[in-house]
């Protein structure tokens, strides 16, 4: 079998758990960028220093679900396999979500320390943006629910 890194089965399962966790997080981010019907509640933040709710949920869900699955599975062999997946997901997820919270807090602090003259031009250049992907946030125009904006 193709195994250039000489990983044992436990390490393979842990890596798979990490990849599941990562795909869950970035799958959510992809939907957030590309799906117009993405729920507004998941874009909101509980607090300005925290990442959006969707990112927190999609990050925490895989290890939590895998740990619940570990408790529910009866067979000891399967329990061990699911436990390895859960540990791999935890190794990726816990440091990752903490890093994201810290990064989000730093962004909020950066916005606070922005000179007042620049506040009127909110421009967000994310690392994921490309030339073909517009990230300049423009003020919405037209009739909103309450006021006419221009």
């Amino acid at each position: 079998m193709f195994n250039p890194l000489k990983m044992n089965p436990i390490e393979k399962r842990m890596l798979l758990g990490g990849v599941i966790s990562s795909l869950s997080y970035y799958g959510n981010t992809t939907l957030e960028y590309l799906y117009p019907g993405y729920p507004v509640q998941l874009k909101q933040k509980l607090e300005e220093h925290l990442p959006p709710n969707g990112e927190i949920i999609s990050g925490v869900a895989p290890p939590a679900l895998l740990y619940v699955a570990t408790k529910l599975v009866k067979s000891s062999g399967t329990k061990e396999k699911v436990s390895d997946l859960a540990l791999g997901a935890t190794i990726h997820n816990i440091p990752h979500i903490l890093a994201k919270i810290g990064v989000s807090a730093l962004y909020a602090e950066g916005v606070k320390s922005r000179p007042a003259a620049r506040m009127s031009a909110p421009i967000s250049v994310t690392k994921y943006s490309t030339n073909s992907f517009p990230t300049q946030v423009t003020r919405p125009t037209g009739l909103s629910k309450y006021v006419m904006t221009s």
């Binding site: 966790s21 990562s22 795909l23 935890t90 890093a99 730093l106 916005v111 690392k127 994921y128 490309t130």
Partner: protein, 116 residues
């Protein structure tokens, strides 16, 4: 948790800390309106591939830990490197999937997103 699992988790946290350091500086400067995009290490080789800072944190750091562990004959460092590489490999795979997905979409299907 047994000592091996603890060391792997420590490796994951250490890689996360390096990732946070590089990413945090970028976002702080971005928040101030002075995005360091294009400056080292925030250089994109290709839009579908994660930038250099992610490769440093997610591939360079685990390799450094592994080399240190092998050089100093410290099994604990090698185990930490394995945890670091689980974090790093997962992160790079996820980011590449996101970037490729964004690249394959036509511009008309992409929606400007007010994230911050």
């Amino acid at each position: 948790m047994n000592p091996v699992e603890k060391n792997m988790l420590i490796g994951g946290f250490a890689t996360g800390a390096v990732d946070f350091g590089l990413e945090g500086y970028y976002e702080y400067m971005n928040g101030m309106g002075k995005s360091p995009r294009g400056q080292f290490p925030y250089i994109e080789i290709h839009p579908a591939i994660p930038p250099v800072d992610d490769w440093i944190a997610c591939a360079g750091f685990p390799l450094l830990l592994y080399a240190l562990g092998k050089g100093l004959h410290k099994t604990s460092l090698v185990t930490m490197a394995k945890g670091a590489s689980i974090y790093g490999a997962s992160e790079l795979i996820g980011q590449t999937v996101l970037r490729v997905a964004l690249q394959t979409q036509p511009v008309a299907a992409q929606y400007a997103l007010v994230r911050k």
